[in-house]
Subunit: 200 residues, 2 copies
Amino acid sequence: MPKALILIADGTEEMEFTITYDTLVRGGVSCVSAYVSAPSSDSTEQTTIYQNPPFAKGSRGINILPDTYFSPQTSTPDKYDLLVIPGGAKGAETISSSSPVQHLVREYIKEGKFVGMICAGSLAALKSGLSKQPITSHPSVKGQLEKAFAYSEDPVVVSGKLVTSRGPGTTFPFALTLVEYLCLIALRYVNLCSRQTQMY
Amino acid sequence: MPKALILIADGTEEMEFTITYDTLVRGGVSCVSAYVSAPSSDSTEQTTIYQNPPFAKGSRGINILPDTYFSPQTSTPDKYDLLVIPGGAKGAETISSSSPVQHLVREYIKEGKFVGMICAGSLAALKSGLSKQPITSHPSVKGQLEKAFAYSEDPVVVSGKLVTSRGPGTTFPFALTLVEYLCLIALRYVNLCSRQTQMY
């Protein structure tokens, strides 16, 4: 079963988070949501990292309880097939400014794992220093991205393992594109198991 | 500012809840989510009614913290312009089986306030004993509704003050329809204020 890690922070756009998580689960993908603390959080963060995370205050007032705290050590590309960064201006700022997240984005791409970014979440491509390639985002951050990338206004842009999208209204096609690619992984796994069964 | 009360329970479809809440907020509607306890909940419910509600376990594993417990006394149609019942089989069963919710549905319709039901949430129309009228729902509960109502397969069905819809994929048009009607309320209010300003 393919696995996805979906990041969330205070200010995450709750539709983009929820539609992606829910659609992936419906598509047979095991999902874990991980809370990324804002840099201004107090110094107790490190001591509370193994406790239950706080709820994330969504951009429009919905409070969501993440499955776990974000931990760089347990988020590596050997553990997941997909890393997702949703939008919502404040949440995307917190997530994309995190050095451990930026490192993970580069590692996922390097290891051939999928990375999904939607809305202002696409800023993580810039802050992670990904190479110039096709990308899209919420129009509000287009100005920050169009020099470093080949900017597109398509609802969903697939560039190798990087899948980007525009906002709440394009989250369904974004999530369905991710399901489609992860299903291909699952199909390959099933085929492999099937061949192994035939072999033994 | 128009006000909406959105019910939520364990098993509520989190996309239907979140897209509706978020879109209404974006449309200028003040939203309150209220947790409806399952009938099997223990007897401490009455004593904890004024404490913070527990998080609602969504149908696909997302945990959402409601704004408040559902209380029939504070949910009356003089306090809100819209009552919303989302789907998700288990959540819709809990909400639509609640006698206080059934009473409220009848009161909202009687007082000319809007009631939105989506997916299996449309069962609340049946259980509340609403009169035969056009309705839609998730296909899985069509069989329970088509004798008592004029069943339609349109994405959104408006019948007087009752607005119904089909499932996660139709939640955007459902929520936008509700925003449209509530904006008309807001416009009438603004016009009234404007006339009063001119009068004094």
